[in-house]
Symmetry: C2
Subunit: 202 residues, 2 copies
Amino acid sequence: MSLCSFEPFSEKMNSKEILQNHISKTISLTDEEFEYFFSHFKVQSFKKGQTVISAGDKVNCEYFVISGCLKAFFINDEIKMYILQFAMPTWWTSDYDALYNKTIATINVDCITDVEVLCLSNEDREKLCKEFHQIEHFFRWRTNKGYIASQKRLLSFMNNNTKKRYEELLALYPQLYNLVPKHLIAAYLGVSRETLSRLYNS
Amino acid sequence: MSLCSFEPFSEKMNSKEILQNHISKTISLTDEEFEYFFSHFKVQSFKKGQTVISAGDKVNCEYFVISGCLKAFFINDEIKMYILQFAMPTWWTSDYDALYNKTIATINVDCITDVEVLCLSNEDREKLCKEFHQIEHFFRWRTNKGYIASQKRLLSFMNNNTKKRYEELLALYPQLYNLVPKHLIAAYLGVSRETLSRLYNS
DNA sequence: TGGGTTACGTGATGTAGGTCACATTCTTTT
DNA sequence: AAAAGAATGTGACCTACATCACGTAACCCA
């Protein structure tokens, strides 16, 4: 699991410390405030292969990854899969469209490895944002970063060919190479597994 | 210019009313608070073809569009152009990566038509967010919406062929068809102008 | 420990879209 | 009103990638 970790020593930290360490990079809360914040999260464990969000279901929570790796993906015509995000430790994942707009999920989230997450409901996030200006600030910045990353990926999609996008992905997240099967990397890049296979045998 | 407008009667409103109408959809400010908020914006006018942000420059502001239409785009190898966003009345635009991370611009913004914008500096936005919890809330929601839209476009890119993406774009923004030249629509879709041309002649 | 599922490699062939080249029309400038 | 410059249409040809098909290797798990 330590393969997925972006923040040092996380395997020595418990989930509370991992979250505290994560948010302290953006805002400062007193220990008391953080305790209150943390009390709204629920620890959940999943086994490899288990489903966290199914397309068609109602979505109530977002998930902060403590350990393991998940994928958020879309299934086209019940056939092809496209991966929107690999979620690694200290990343957040959900179907944010469904979550914020209170519609049913159009994307799925499931577990590539055994996973531990902290789960925060939509209502609790909004409540916390209302109660603590700092927490609203934190979530604004988190989304900002996600937005910027998403724009960059879009650009890379238009501008780069598959080979370049593959190299870019591995440069950014070298741990993916050993952690997730190649056909999932293909699904992230938006190409067939055959094309990806031919790519790195040359 | 009324072609670009998504909010009714905007041509009868002045820039202050347009902004007030826009933010009142997410938060409620007193008239006094709004006056203070508005006092941080600077009106700017541009002629068709003028540059607002150049790749390589420092980026200090984000722009709220009052009238007209801009494009935010990336130039690859000094040759190919990819459009990240068409910015229409009541939309926000900038190079957010450069703006938030205080780096130089990698994307350009220029004017497809004559344009009027309200300009807000990064420092003033952060100051206002700090001073008014409500304003921080507004900007969190604005970015949320942008993030969700960006994810959807990414999915559409992977999942749909050019024809479908073209129809999707026109269904969402019918006014684009008459407002912007076809080769810019091609640059938004990420295909060559020739391909797009052949597409709707069939 | 063996049988079934999942992951991966590779050939043959089809196709969407890119690139280049040139013609036509529409728009802007002087 | 003429000239120059954009924007668009269209043919010929090329390339990256998809799809189908089949084979092999690795990994569960009963």
